[in-house]
């Protein structure tokens, strides 16, 4: 459950915004808020996840602190959003991972790297690990085929399940109907919103990141991360098909699809994560939830390390460093997979669900075909 104080504060702020509405051009939160007169806990959790934390409404707010109304929409919604991450998490026993998330992610990742290294050394021995391996099956001479495929597939399945379960929880907890969840039109709209990161546009002028100037820089870096991630995902999928179905074992030549896509994705991830990390460090902290900071940094660092070690593995795969690099890379990937549902990555699921909710609401409004000016006077 979200804490009553946090819901109360979000309600207080939304009531002020709803009687002001100066920010309605910035993002989807304000039009969604305007569809309501009062806000239930469902509504507030939905609005919290619809906010992209672009901060435009913070710098534009005539009631921002130190004004006595003390309106800080991005911070209030970010804090509530964090609570919803915990609340919607599955399985519930892992909720605790959202507390001190940076530490948790760091610990899990370090442990998984150590574990993979240890297992590698124990199973193959130092000589094999430091030897130069080339040609077909080179990787499997360090870690055997099944030792890679089984744990990673299991983890992948686990991540997918938790994401879907999270979306289902979100949907139920924010009062959506199952029919709406599967509406093709609404999902098409939500996917399109995600692909273009529509609500980091700030009504066409960008975010206020890292300060009160409008800029598209955060959107660009986020695009690098998002599309970098997608490219890596596609690369891995193709590699899996090559390996399992076509029986072409890794590693692949440089000009092969998995390597080209993976390299592009990895470089994009490096650029994007470094960019976002620098922005996070430079940003004005006032419109942010302090507790979100370590979580954001942890996830970005983990993505950065994943692509860095992946690229290093590519560069040094024909040297004696390959064994260690492979083990470290796999360890980090395992850490990434384990912590994905219990860290910043989960925002993807809830943001998507919130956008789908929003698309449903807009469709319903269009069906009513009301004049948008009607209730404004």
């Amino acid at each position: 459950m979200s804490s009553p104080e946090m819901l109360k504060e979000a309600d207080r702020v939304m009531v002020i915004c709803n009687s002001c509405r100066y920010c309605e051009g910035f993002c989807a939160v304000f039009p969604a808020m305007e569809r309501r007169r009062t806000f239930t806990a469902h509504d507030l959790k939905y609005l919290a996840n619809l906010c992209h934390n672009c901060r435009d409404c913070y710098y534009a707010c005539q009631y921002a602190p130190p004004h006595e109304f003390d309106v800080n929409v991005p911070k209030t919604l970010a804090e509530l959003r964090l609570e919803t991450y915990r609340e919607f998490t599955w399985p519930g026993v892992f909720k605790g991972l959202f507390r001190q998330n940076g530490l948790a992610v760091a610990l899990v990742t370090t442990l998984s790297v150590l574990l993979v290294l240890l297992l590698t050394f124990l199973s193959k021995g130092p000589a094999a690990v430091f030897a130069i391996h080339s040609g077909e099956n080179a990787f499997y001479q360090i870690i055997s085929y099944w030792a890679i495929v089984i744990p990673l597939s299991a983890l992948g399945l686990f991540v997918l399940t938790t994401l879907l379960k999270g979306i289902a929880n979100f949907w139920r907890e924010t009062g959506g109907t199952p029919g709406e969840l599967f509406s093709p039109q609404a999902n098409a709209q939500a996917i399109w919103d995600v692909l273009q990161l529509k609500y980091l546009d700030g009504g066409g002028h960008g975010c206020n990141y890292p300060d009160d100037r409008f800029s598209f820089i955060r959107k660009w870096f986020h695009h690098f991360v998002f599309y970098g991630f997608i490219l890596c995902f596609i690369s891995t999928t193709i590699a899996a098909i090559y390996d399992h179905f076509l029986h072409w074992p890794a590693p692949y030549p440089f000009w092969s699809w998995p390597v080209v896509l993976g390299t592009m994705g990895g470089v994009a991830l490096l650029i994007g994560t470094v960019g976002l990390l620098v922005l996070k460090l430079k940003m004005d902290p006032s419109p942010a939830a302090p507790r979100a900071f370590s979580m954001d940094i942890a996830f970005l660092s983990l993505l950065f390390l994943t692509s860095l070690t992946g690229l290093l593995l590519l560069v040094f795969r024909e040297t004696g460093a390959m064994g260690i690099l492979l083990a470290v890379h796999l360890g980090i990937v395992v850490g990434l997979f384990i912590t994905m549902p219990y860290g910043k990555f989960i925002h993807a699921a809830y943001r998507y669900a919130a956008l789908a909710r929003n698309a449903n609401e807009k469709l319903a409004e269009d069906r009513l075909a009301v004049d948008p000016t009607q209730n404004k006077a």
């Binding site: 602190p65 006595e68 409008f214 209730n375 006077a377």
Partner: protein, 472 residues
């Protein structure tokens, strides 16, 4: 946020022009003068967090344009603009200056965009003003942020927390200004000055001079920093006043609003859908006379004339969703007596007022978007439109107080924004823009978005003329 340059660093420089104030008019003047080549110092009495005066609270601006664009739906030409102004002021306007304002507002949106302001697309036409008024994306504070950034980029030096307390004027010529910043009193000499320091509505003592004790119950909707200090100094030193000191833009707002700076969210739009009573539980004016945005402005004055400057709006559950939500929750009651008790009114009197009203309502076609034919018969005062009996609990109520937007007493100016002295001579190097001279054009009444128009047009004129003066 832009950082505050150190006072000593700034004040070791010499400046051509001093701009006093930190709202829309001041920034328009400062940007224009600096771009024309003058070295400009701007002194804003508020700290950086509250910079921007009343302009910080605005939503839109009215300007003349031949055709629609991405944020305006249609043309708005000089004649229509002038007719609108003439109507709201009842002819109390200086036609020459009014026409200057209208003409020079022509396509001013483009200039604003060039200086960093973003407008909201026209399709969400709030308040039916999308044709005549451009709405700032994010409102007035976003505009103010953009202007401060542009001004700094152009080279304007800005000091916050710097209240000008006195002006040295000799024989109609400005010599220097005294200001207090962080406890230090300092003097700055420049070749000219632009006064854009707003009205005097935040000066409760001064309001009391004209309004008497009722002024104690006024709520000031905007900045607490517009104390009229510069206006007083100018008038004391021979500037010719303009405007009725008792005229101000006053609306009825929620009585629970903070004394200062509550801004837009404390306004109440429920009046046309119910009745309004004073503390004797008697109605005193036709609540359904006209559309609320048009009538909104007269209610400030009406409430100010009631005992203890308080009134109460009462509606029933039929109407609760018909108007813009406001920031304070309505007082809710299951019966009229309970409502009276919660509002500390005499229950019998309120019951009687409601019964008389309900009995006078003639059934008709109700339409919240049009002047409908739901009226009362034989009731004094009548309710001309949207009259429906108050009979469906729960009942909702809001307490009302006069909320002062800005005062109209100001200094007389000419079409070059020069301040006119008692002997009708213009002061060669003293210019004024914005609320401090708005009374030349707005003798009474108000139309939405026109305060920013006056400030933008006269700010630019003052900046241009002042730069011309100091550079010649």
């Amino acid at each position: 946020m832009a950082s505050t340059p150190h006072d000593a660093d700034t004040l070791s420089q010499t400046f051509d022009l001093l701009v006093i104030g930190g709202g829309n008019a001041a920034l328009c003047a400062a940007m224009t003068a600096q771009a024309a080549g003058a070295r400009v110092l701007l002194l804003e009495s508020a700290p950086i967090e509250f910079r921007g005066g009343n302009s910080r609270h605005t939503r839109n601006l009215r300007y003349m344009h031949e055709r629609g664009n991405d944020h305006l739906t249609g043309p708005y030409l000089e004649d229509e603009f002038w007719d609108d102004l003439n109507r709201v002021t009842g002819g109390q306007t200086n036609e020459e200056l009014a026409r200057v304002t209208i003409r020079q507002s022509n396509n001013v949106g483009e200039w604003m965009t060039l200086h960093g302001v973003n407008f909201q697309p026209a399709m969400r036409g709030t308040l039916h003003l999308a044709r005549t008024n451009g709405f700032f994306l994010g409102g007035g504070k976003a505009l103010i942020n953009a202007y401060y950034r542009t001004a700094a980029k152009l080279g304007v030096r800005i000091l916050y927390d710097a209240e000008v307390t006195d002006l040295e004027i000799q024989d109609g010529l400005f010599k220097s200004a005294t200001f207090v910043s962080r406890g230090l009193t300092q003097k700055v000499r420049t070749k000219a000055v632009v006064l854009a320091s707003g009205g005097f509505q935040a000066n409760l003592d001064w309001l009391k001079e004209y309004w008497g004790p009722p002024a104690d119950n006024f709520i000031i909707r905007g900045t607490p920093y517009n104390k009229g200090r510069m206006l007083r100094v100018l008038l004391d030193q021979g500037a010719k006043p303009v405007g009725d000191p008792r005229q101000c833009h006053a609306v009825a707002i929620d009585a629970r609003a903070p004394k200062f700076d509550g801004g837009i969210v404390t306004r109440l739009d429920c009046v046309p859908f119910g009745i309004v009573v004073n503390k004797e539980a008697r109605r005193f004016y036709d609540e359904g006379e006209e559309f609320w945005p048009k009538r909104y402005a007269i209610w400030g004055r009406l409430v100010a004339q009631q005992p203890d400057q308080i009134a109460y709006a009462v509606i029933d559950s039929k109407s609760i969703d018909l108007f813009m939500p406001s920031v304070f929750p309505p007082i809710e009651a299951a019966s009229i007596e309970e409502m009276a008790a919660k509002m500390e009114l005499d229950p019998a009197a309120l019951k009687e007022t409601v019964a008389a009203f309900n009995g006078a309502v003639r059934p008709g076609r109700f339409d919240s978007n049009d002047l409908d034919d739901c009226t009362t018969v034989g009731l004094e005062p009548a309710k001309s439109h949207w009259a429906r009996p108050l009979d469906r609990p729960p009942y909702y109520g809001y307490p009302l107080r006069p909320g002062i937007t800005f005062t109209y007493l100001g200094v007389t100016v000419n079409d070059r924004a020069q301040v006119i002295l008692q002997d009708d001579r213009p002061a060669a190097n003293i210019f004024a823009a914005g609320e401090i001279m708005a009374g030349n054009i707005l003798g009474k009444g108000y139309m939405a978005g026109f305060g920013m128009t006056i400030g933008t047009v006269f700010g630019r004129i003052a900046g241009k003329e002042a730069a011309r003066h100091v550079l010649s």
